[in-house]
């Protein structure tokens, strides 16, 4: 999810050529507050969407110890469900709210079914089998999406209530992006509350540290695993539904999205929700500005950073070293 392409504001051509001058040209936009504000907003709102996917992915890895390659597909289904529900009454708030609820609940159910029906059978299998299973889901879900919704990309209209702009500090901001940030903050707070103030949350955090001990203490880890996966899927679904008005909703959506999510989970630390939040915002903002400063290199940079983190500090910023 890169930031919007904007023309680079050129520096004064009276400067003579040189590396410093080239750098100044690349960063000339820094002087332009409209550009900076717009990219910052895009970066933070993209970061919030990324957080919704990554938080689920990270929790699933922390508790179930499974790298869910199909998580991007869950996000994609959320977007498609939102597409179908919103299409019933396009542009209205009612259909949009219904779309959000439908995507979240639908994915929670799908997640629970996947965990109970498939994942549960391979917890004790060698890692390559778990990997293959989630890969299989990627292939299957991609084609299922094609079968149900067709091959082309669709668009979802932003609900009218959120379609305008907001004026602040002498600048204009798209209201929908502010809405995304608001939802992201709400979800982050909600997750924090659940993880730190409920029994279930304590079990989840304990499971990321020592599953065997948790089970030995008498906690029903089977149900815990199912609910964690369902929550992760629900978050991905919500993320997809929220992203639907601003991305191209097509059967290829899941392939790109999972990559960004992996980068975030690696940087933030597998199993850490706060890590997912910090890393998502970081990646979102760096991407938004990276596209301005180094248009070609931004993507390469992402994987370079991922590799560096894995080499130097593989458990990420907030993860637990094993």
């Amino acid at each position: 999810m890169s930031g919007q392409g904007l023309p680079v504001v050129k520096a004064d051509p009276a400067y003579s050529a040189g590396l410093l001058d080239a750098l100044l040209q690349q960063f000339a936009w820094v002087q332009n507050p409209v550009v900076v504000a717009r990219q910052l907003l895009a970066g933070v709102s993209n970061g919030m969407l990324l957080f919704l996917i990554s938080a689920g992915l990270s929790l699933i890895f922390g508790v179930l110890r499974i790298i869910n390659f199909a998580h991007g597909a869950l996000f994609m289904f959320g977007a498609f469900i939102a597409l179908s529900v919103a299409a019933l009454a396009p542009g209205t708030s009612g259909s949009y709210v219904a779309a959000l609820i439908g995507a979240t609940a639908g994915l929670a159910v799908l997640g629970a079914l996947l965990e109970m029906g498939l994942l549960r059978r391979i917890y004790h299998a060698p890692h390559e089998f778990q990997l293959l299973l989630t890969f299989a889901l990627v292939f299957i879900f991609g084609d299922v999406a094609k079968l149900i919704w067709g091959r082309e990309d669709h668009s979802v209209s932003v609900p009218q209530a959120l379609g305008g702009s907001v004026q602040a500090l002498g600048l204009t901001f798209p209201a929908y992006r502010l809405f995304l940030i608001g939802v992201g903050i709400a979800v982050a707070l909600g997750l924090w509350l659940v993880l730190h103030r409920t029994r279930w949350g304590i079990f989840v955090r304990a499971a990321t540290m020592d599953r065997a001990m948790l089970s030995a203490l008498g906690v029903n880890t089977r149900v815990l695993f199912t609910t964690v996966f369902a929550l992760g899927a629900a978050l991905a679904g919500l993320g997809g539904a929220l992203a639907a008005p601003i991305v191209a909703v097509g059967p290829g959506l899941h392939v790109q999205v999972i990559i960004d999510a992996f980068v975030v989970v690696v940087i933030g630390g597998m199993g850490s929700v706060i890590g997912a939040l910090v890393a998502s915002l970081l990646v979102g903002i760096v991407n938004a500005f990276g596209v301005l400063a180094f248009p070609g290199l931004a993507v390469v940079l992402t994987f370079a950073v991922m590799a560096i983190v894995l080499i130097v500090r593989p458990w990420g910023l907030f993860g637990v070293p094993e």
């Binding site: 390559e128 089998f129 990997l131 293959l132 890969f135 299989a136 690696v266 994987f303 894995l310």
Partner: protein
């Protein structure tokens, strides 16, 4: 003659005689089977023998393919010379990448090793997509042809066989040698092997480089046969292919993955011919494999004969 020796002899005869009985299209598929067999067997040396699950083996297959393509199309050499250098170049370039990637990756174990190989493969993917001048970017490189008579599938098949059969033999000698036995011990208990004085990291790195080199050879051979290379060869979804082939054939035998490759390629050709939903079919096959047939085809065969 032992049963396995008889099987091998039969297989060798079948491989040598195949082009006489097949149409050009199926010879083309047979070449693909050979290349993917080497690819899958090299991957299994890493996984089945070495216990190292790499999410990034497709990187070396792709690098070999691109090296071959660039050599043939952009190096400005005479067609015959470029082609003669192809196997060595594909292997050396892939080995070089494997050396760098492996150096960083083997320092970590398990899941971090896997994610590192994944990250490096995606890095190469983005480079392949962006460096349009060298790699053709999004469009990849097309129109790759072996020179002269080798452009005919019949001849190219024997060329491929002449490279791949010795390659498989070398890999087999490798896993049967002291090096190979240390590798198997590493899979079982790396710490213990370290205590008897073996440099674990060096051993793993060497294995990584060798298997990467052979994957590169397979990629180079396939690129010239299919006539093109695409960045998609380096995308993360391509990482599944060697794993599927190895597990399908059975990771506990040396040639199991080769069988898996044959079945995989033939299934893909047959199913893709009937429907565009090959990924769906492949996903279902993988599910069946993982849930019902974890030992793969050779495991099934062994159970039947037991």
């Amino acid at each position: 003659m032992t049963r396995s020796a008889a099987l091998l002899a039969a297989g060798a005869i079948a491989l040598l005689a195949a082009p006489l009985a097949l149409s050009d299209f199926w010879i083309f598929i047979a070449i693909e089977v050979l290349a993917f067999a080497l690819y899958a067997v090299s991957f299994n040396v890493l996984l089945g023998y070495g216990g190292m699950l790499s999410f990034g083996h497709a990187a070396f297959f792709g690098v070999g393919g691109y090296a071959a393509a660039i050599l043939v199309k952009k190096a400005g050499l005479a067609a015959g010379l470029a082609f003669a250098l192809l196997p060595a170049v594909a292997m050396l370039v892939a080995a070089a990448f494997a050396l760098v990637i492996g150096f960083f990756s083997v320092r970590r174990a398990g899941i971090y090793f896997a994610m590192l190989t994944f990250a490096f493969q995606m890095l190469l993917y983005t480079v392949a997509m962006k460096a349009t001048g060298i790699t053709g970017g999004d469009d990849g490189m097309t129109g790759l042809k072996p020179p002269g008579v080798l452009a005919k599938p019949f001849a190219y098949y024997y060329f491929a066989l002449a490279l791949i059969a010795p390659a498989l033999y070398v890999l087999h000698r490798l896993v049967s040698s002291p090096f190979g036995y240390i590798l198997r011990a590493l899979r079982a208990n790396a710490r213990r092997v370290q205590y008897i004085g073996v440099d674990v990291r060096a051993h793993q790195l060497a294995t990584f480089v060798i298997t990467g080199a052979f994957a590169g050879l397979a990629g180079g051979i396939f690129a010239l046969s299919s006539g093109n290379v695409f960045p998609g060869w380096l995308n993360w979804t391509a990482s599944a292919t060697p794993i599927v082939m190895a597990v399908l054939g059975g990771v506990h035998t040396f040639l199991g993955p080769a069988l898996g490759a044959a079945v995989y390629v033939v299934l893909e050709v047959l199913i893709s011919g009937k429907t565009e939903y090959w990924p769906l079919a492949m996903g279902v096959i993988i599910l069946i494999l993982v849930l019902l047939m974890p030992e793969g085809l050779t495991g099934l065969a062994r159970r039947k004969s037991a």
